[in-house]
């Protein structure tokens, strides 16, 4: 592994991580606003929508950024991945298109907001499940070569417990992370009703997603043992990740610093969970190396031309310098500005 290819895979991994957090939030918010659509009393739907309106477009750019980073850094992996992912990838695209379209429409056509909310709510947990499939597909065993063409083996895919563990994890952790973030968001927006609802949801979905995480490890041991063994090499970090998870849980039970009657410190929980995801995905990512698609493509064999990599990396640096103020301004306007957080209309 050269430093260049390591650098490239790190950037890609970073995009995936940011997208995972932002998209989780996005998809989960859609789901929760569907669940609470009939409860006039709580502002839970409003809160979810207020978050969702300005962010989905920015979130969507990240998925494009991931695909572009994959294609431009690892064109060698593109060929196989593009071929095998034709069907699942197309399904994701179709759902995403429906979802984004109807999400926007529902802000404009208020009379139809219900029907439209169902579209974005239901797709809100199917899309993450499908997206997550990409991971186990790269673990090997699901791809076969027929007449020189790589094909996805749907029979193996649909009967693998590991796949279902990943799907379960995708859905439960989407709901967990988003309810946690929404709890924090409504706490900052001074909406105690909504805060109570989302805190409760986080407490239900949290343990489920931990369970799913454990199921992934158990099934991985049988179906992709190479990965399992390598992940256990980093056992201390894995333990650290579990500890971070426990801290997050604990944080939801200690009394609030600012408000006497409120229980829980959602900001602390969010930070702890982010650390937990970082640690766990670091271990996963490191164990996955050097393979991009086991055993056919490594980050070395799929790597782009060095000249292209250098030019790309330069644009990354310039691009981030230019974009950073934009992101900061955006964050200030929508995540921090009390006038926006507190307004009644979404």
């Amino acid at each position: 592994m050269t430093t260049d290819s390591l650098l490239a895979i790190t950037v890609l991994w970073g995009f995936v991580f940011i997208y995972a957090v932002m998209a989780t939030m996005d998809f989960g918010a859609g789901f929760w606003s569907m669940i609470y659509i009939n409860k006039e009393k709580t502002k839970a739907t409003n809160i979810a929508n207020r978050y969702l309106s300005p962010t989905w477009e920015v979130t969507n750019v990240f998925i494009v950024a991931i695909v572009i980073a994959l294609v431009s850094f690892f064109p060698g992996a593109t060929f196989i991945l593009g071929t095998v992912l034709l069907v699942p990838g197309s399904l994701i695209l179709i759902l995403l298109a429906l979802r984004s379209g109807f999400l926007v429409f529902s802000h404009v056509a208020k009379d139809y907001v219900k029907a439209l909310t169902y579209v974005s709510g239901i797709s809100g947990f199917i899309i993450p499940a499908l997206l997550m499939l990409v991971l186990p597909i790269t673990h090997g065993g699901y791809i076969e070569e027929v007449n020189g063409v790589h094909q996805l083996r749907f029979d193996v895919l649909l009967t693998s417990p590991n796949i279902y563990a990943f799907i379960g994890f995708a859905i439960s952790s989407t709901l967990f992370l988003s309810s946690l973030l929404l709890a924090d968001y409504s706490n900052v927006a001074e909406e105690p009703e909504a805060y109570r609802v989302y805190r409760r949801d986080a407490l239900i979905t949290g343990p489920i997603s931990l369970l799913m995480g454990i199921l992934i490890m158990l099934t991985l041991r049988v179906e992709a043992n190479w990965l399992y063994v390598k992940m256990l090499n980093d056992l201390p970090i894995l333990i650290g990740s579990v500890i971070a998870y426990l801290i997050a849980g604990l944080a939801l039970f200690i009394p609030s610093a600012k408000h006497k009657k409120r229980i829980g410190r959602p900001r602390l929980a969010v930070i702890a969970i982010t650390i937990q995801y970082l640690l766990a995905s670091y271990v996963y990512g490191r164990a996955h190396l050097p393979y991009m698609i086991y055993p056919d493509v490594t980050i070395e064999s799929g790597f782009t031309h060095p000249n292209t990599f250098r030019a790309l990396f330069m644009t990354y640096i310039v691009g981030f310098l230019i974009l950073f103020p934009g992101f900061f301004y955006f964050w200030k306007l929508f995540m921090k500005d009390k006038r926006y957080l507190k307004q009644n209309e979404s």
């Binding site: 309106s53 300005p54 962010t55 477009e57 920015v58 969507n60 750019v61 494009v64 950024a65 695909v67 572009i68 980073a69 994959l70 294609v71 431009s72 850094f73 690892f74 064109p75 593109t78 060929f79 991945l81 593009g82 071929t83 034709l86 069907v87 990838g89 197309s90 695209l93 179709i94 995403l96 298109a97 429906l98 984004s100 379209g101 926007v104 429409f105 404009v108 056509a109 009379d111 139809y112 020189g148 063409v149 790589h150 782009t304 031309h305 000249n307 292209t308 030019a311 644009t315 990354y316 691009g319 230019i322 974009l323 934009g326 301004y329 955006f330 306007l333 929508f334 500005d337 926006y340």
Partner: protein, 442 residues
């Protein structure tokens, strides 16, 4: 049908659908910016209302532009994995830089739409300006990939391996500037004529209501000025595009003009259909010597005919019709905007005759049609190559065989989104007629 044909149909359908919303996403922000600036200059609240209403419409259009664009981007890798492998190694820069353009547009569009009431007028103008910049940059950059397909540069293929990679040379490939400019100015012109269509339509419906009528007349005049300027630029630059074809893709120009024999003093054929058997254009009007002049600014220019190329390299001959359609519409719209401006500002007539109004109403759809013609001409005219003289389309297509079903599914989605976007726009503007906003201001 074989898989290659289905894959091409699927991708062509995706692009044909995306381009409608993408083009408007480049053109309408320019109109919004103009309205915002006019409002700051004249303090006429009508312009603020225009900006607000166009922004609302644009925000709805983005709900289709972005997901279909996402589909286009991912589909490139899914349907043409062999193409994207080469692009990833050589021509990754425009895609990468495009991401930054998307971010700029997405961030500032959200700010402009959702925080309009909390930011200063200066910041509002700056935000729309960045939206325009982001959208234009993404159009320019994606066109650059298309330009590279026509005039590849910055690499060689040696024994199946890509060598001598120079990503910046690929980026600044010979047709980049001309193609990118053509796409940008044609998008601005389309945005303007779409506004022209809407305001002319509303004027026809509100002849009696003087207040509403004059609101739409202001929008119409603005769109005629912007549309006029950019249709002129489109035509001038289109002429350069044709010269670029003459130099770099002569068989495409020959097919566009139905020219079989290489000759100087070549005639320009307008209309008609190319007949492969008799090697002539039927039912066309021929302007002697004009093609030579067009291709090289001199009647003596030798234009290469199709017979100088092996027939397997010939582009499909129907692109002649697409090319004609584009040029005809472009010329008509230049004429229309100049005539409209002349009628109103020089002759100082208060009202446009009906015939004029009907012409204004169809200007926007014609402009969009021209965009479709232009793209199908450019992409189909490049066949059988996906990268001209380097990579054949049939060699890069995916090996998967389930494309037929996907073609149906995606087409269905486009139909649903297309209908939904029209209904939503209709619903919103019915619910919020401009009268309400005008009343508030008087």
């Amino acid at each position: 049908m074989d898989d290659l044909v289905i894959a091409r149909s699927l991708f062509g359908t995706t692009m044909g659908f995306h381009i409608i919303f993408a083009t408007l996403g480049v053109g309408i922000p320019l109109m919004i910016l103009c309205a915002e600036i006019l409002f700051q200059k004249t303090k006429d609240p009508d312009y603020a209302i225009m900006a607000r209403r166009w922004t609302k419409g644009q925000a709805v259009l983005l709900g289709v532009a972005i997901p279909t664009g996402t589909i286009a981007g991912v589909q490139l890798a899914l349907l043409w994995p062999g193409f994207m492998e080469v692009i990833g190694k050589v021509m990754a820069l425009p895609f990468q830089i495009e991401i930054y353009a998307f971010f700029v547009e997405a961030l500032f569009m959200s700010i402009y739409v959702y925080a309009a009431d909390r930011i200063s007028p200066k910041m509002r103008i700056f935000s729309v300006f960045l939206v325009l910049l982001g959208a234009s940059a993404s159009a320019v950059l994606i066109t650059n990939v298309h330009a590279f397909e026509g005039t590849p540069a910055g690499f060689r293929i040696e024994n199946g391996e890509i060598v001598d990679t120079d990503p910046w040379a690929a980026f600044f490939n010979p047709s980049f500037f001309i193609s990118a400019a053509h796409v940008a100015v044609s998008a601005y012109m389309t945005g303007a004529f779409m506004i022209c269509t809407i305001s002319a339509f509303k004027m026809l419906k509100n002849r009696k209501n003087e207040r509403v009528y004059s609101f739409h007349k202001k929008a119409l005049m603005l769109s005629l000025v912007i549309g006029g300027i950019f249709s002129l630029l489109t035509a001038l630059n289109g002429h350069e595009s044709a010269q670029m074809l003459h130099e770099y893709q002569p068989e495409k120009l020959a097919a566009a003009e139905g020219l079989f024999e290489t000759q100087d003093y070549a005639p320009l054929a307008i209309g008609g259909f190319t007949d492969k058997e008799t090697q002539e254009i039927k039912y066309a009007i021929e302007i002697p010597w004009a093609l030579s002049f067009l291709a090289g600014n001199s009647f003596k220019t030798e234009v290469i005919g199709l017979n100088d190329f092996p027939e397997e390299y010939w582009p499909p001959l129907f692109i002649h019709t697409l090319f004609n359609g584009m040029v005809l519409i472009g010329s008509f719209l230049i004429f229309l905007s100049i005539a409209g401006f002349f009628w109103k500002k020089i002759l100082k007539k208060p009202r446009f005759p009906k015939l004029f109004m009907y012409a204004f109403v169809i200007a926007g759809p014609l402009s969009l049609l021209s965009i479709e013609f232009g793209w199908i001409f450019a992409c189909t005219g490049r066949q059988p190559w996906v990268i001209y003289r380097v990579l054949a389309t049939k060699d890069v297509v995916t090996g998967s065989t389930q494309i037929g079903t996907l073609f149906i599914l995606f087409s269905l989605i486009y139909v649903i989104l297309g209908i939904a976007v029209l209904l939503v726009l209709k619903y919103y503007f019915k619910r919020h007629p401009v009268e309400n906003e005008l009343d508030l201001n008087t």
